[in-house]
């Protein structure tokens, strides 16, 4: 058994090396669940639109940050978008889904008014540039679990889709 208490050199002070280990499970709620299930089942990225502020939130949200309105109008947005900002993490932590370096990015998908926070892949970090076009890469169906990680990452677009997919529907 590893020593859990350690005496400090030269003084009567002990340090206890322990942990707090309480598993936590968070519910996505109705809106969050529908958003995640769409990723898992249909490889679709969904947003919700605020009719008052005329803003499309992606990922889908239930409340507008500006007007406090409840959002029920679902919108499918394009899987391609514009990279707003990015960062490359070189320090590992136990939560990261893949080894470092990890490139993070905020992507404004075509048809969305907000940025989507995710990872970037299949790209040399040196070639990342704000404004570049990127697109979502999904995990294969068997690996998708209705989580934000069902999208593997966003990668630079080789071929820009001309058609903007925007399907509107009422909840």
């Amino acid at each position: 058994m590893a020593k859990v208490t350690e005496k400090l050199e030269g003084m009567d002070v002990w340090v206890y090396h322990g942990k707090i280990h309480i598993p936590n499970t968070y519910s996505a709620g109705a809106v969050g669940s529908r958003f995640l299930i769409e990723l898992r089942d249909n490889e679709r990225i969904m947003g919700t639109r605020c009719p008052t502020c005329n803003l499309v939130y992606v990922p889908a949200r239930s409340v507008c940050k500006d007007c406090f309105g409840q959002l029920s109008e679902w919108v499918e947005v394009s899987q391609q978008g514009t990279l707003l900002t990015y960062a490359i993490a070189y320090q590992p932590n136990p939560v990261q889904p893949s080894p470092v370096p990890i490139a993070y990015g905020i992507v404004q998908l075509d048809g969305a008014d907000t940025g989507f926070v995710h990872m970037l892949g299949e790209v040399d970090p040196k070639r990342l540039k704000a404004g570049m076009k990127v697109e979502a890469v999904f995990k294969v169906k068997e690996e998708r679990q209705a989580s934000i990680l069902d999208i593997k990452y966003f990668k630079p677009v080789r071929k820009v889709t001309k058609k903007r997919v925007v399907v509107k529907g009422h909840h």
């Binding site: 400090l8 003084m11 002070v13 340090v15 707090i20 936590n24 968070y26 996505a28 969050g32 995640l36 939130y57 992606v58 990922p59 949200r61 940050k65 707003l84 900002t85 990015y86 960062a87 490359i88 993490a89 070189y90 320090q91 932590n93 136990p94 939560v95 990261q96 889904p97 990890i102 993070y104 990015g105 905020i106 404004q108 907000t114 940025g115 989507f116 926070v117 995710h118 990872m119 970090p125 704000a130 989580s147 934000i148 990680l149």
Partner: protein
């Protein structure tokens, strides 16, 4: 406001990378003893206590349990708040102005050395949409830094200059953790943590405590050698999801500053404020927050950082203490800015004194990319 709330005394521990030799209570007590000594008060004279701590960092549910004896809370009135300690000072001010309490002890402590920073910070992100990505405050800050630098053409050199200036100022501050003789080149060549943020663009892990006594105007005049008055204060939340925010423009800070300025009758902050102590855990935040505080226009923070006007002896010296970058724990950093502002206004800031300072600004923030911003204006007349 008919009455004013006054700061009677302030104390800080020397900030240190690892105070394993003390627990939270003993750390806080080091600073508490100083304010009691200075004012001649005992813990029994305190009629309300505001403690500021966070369970996730202290590794304890109801973290304030750690220190209720050293703040004298037994059978006393105690409020425990989270966020940065500058908000605790705000709460103390409200208690005094409400007429319910006369003498309030405000305490904030943090032993960052005790926990694992990125794991604790990760728990601050939306669990469904962001936490699983493994983000921590530094990677989020890097997204903000890149966005800000790209949008306004702020350069890594300008950010590095902030680091060099803060470390230089810190040499005059006996409480500073790690003033370093560094150059812009040192910063730009230091290890890359999360691009574009390098090791020297960030503050190190830090342990420390800050304590102050806030009192009614009448009481403050009796107790303090030189009372310092809380003239204006506000704080403000930004929305949480990073993609919903314009990270290059700190709207919450703009709002918080406007409210604090209007309370304190300030319409030209650069001219009317004599010294500013601002919280910057990352170098890019100094130019960005200066924009938010209205010291310059949007996108002009880089130029301001380049100019001499925020150096010691300049028009508005920023962070004579060296600020947060040389090492202050989160949660204490903003309150330490208030403490430093008080020392300036009392003319007791030693080698870091800004001559004749009458009006000071203290700024603190909490959360991801400065999600909750707080601004306080203090004056000695």
């Amino acid at each position: 406001m008919a009455q004013r709330a006054g700061i009677v005394a302030v104390a800080q521990t020397k900030y240190h990378p690892n105070r394993a030799d003390v627990n939270e209570a003993e750390l806080a007590y080091e600073a508490i003893k100083q304010v009691l000594e200075e004012t001649g008060l005992t813990l029994s004279d305190i009629d309300s206590v505001v403690t500021c701590c966070q369970d996730a960092w202290d590794g304890r549910t109801i973290a304030s349990l750690n220190l209720q004896h050293v703040v004298g809370a037994h059978f006393g009135h105690e409020f425990t708040v989270a966020e940065d300690g500058i908000n605790a000072a705000y709460v103390a001010m409200s208690q005094v102005l409400s007429g319910d309490h006369e003498t309030v002890l405000v305490e904030s402590h943090m032993k960052e050395s005790q926990g694992e920073k990125s794991l604790i910070e990760n728990a601050g992100f939306d669990a469904i949409l962001m936490r699983q990505l493994g983000l921590d405050f530094t990677s989020a800050a890097a997204l903000q830094a890149r966005r800000y630098m790209d949008k306004y053409g702020i350069t890594p050199e300008q950010c590095a200059k902030a680091v060099v200036r803060n470390h230089g100022n810190a040499k005059n501050n006996p409480f500073a953790q790690g003033p370093m003789d560094i150059t812009v080149d040192d910063v730009l060549r230091s290890e890359m943590l999360v691009s574009p943020i390098r090791l020297l663009d960030t503050k190190p892990i830090s342990d420390g405590a800050c304590v102050m006594i806030v009192a009614t105007e009448e009481k403050a005049k009796k107790l303090a050698r030189k009372p310092v008055w809380m003239m204006g204060v506000s704080n403000c939340y930004e929305t949480h999801y990073l993609g919903d925010r314009e990270l290059a423009d700190c709207d919450a800070l703009v709002k918080a500053a406007r409210k604090a300025y209007s309370m304190a009758d300030i319409n030209d902050p650069l001219r009317q404020i004599d010294v500013a102590e601002i919280s910057t855990e990352y170098s890019y935040q100094e130019p960005l927050w200066m924009e938010g505080l209205g010291f310059c226009g949007r996108g002009e923070g880089g130029k301001l950082a380049d100019s001499k006007s925020i150096e010691m002896g300049g028009q508005l010296p920023v962070n004579p203490s060296g600020g947060v970058l040389p090492g202050n724990p989160n949660g204490v950093a903003g309150m330490a800015r208030v403490a430093e502002a008080v020392l300036q206004l009392r003319g007791e800031a030693g080698a870091r004194q800004v001559k004749g300072a009458k009006v000071a600004l203290a700024h603190g923030y909490t959360g991801i990319c400065g999600q909750l911003q707080a601004v306080m204006i203090l004056a000695n007349v």
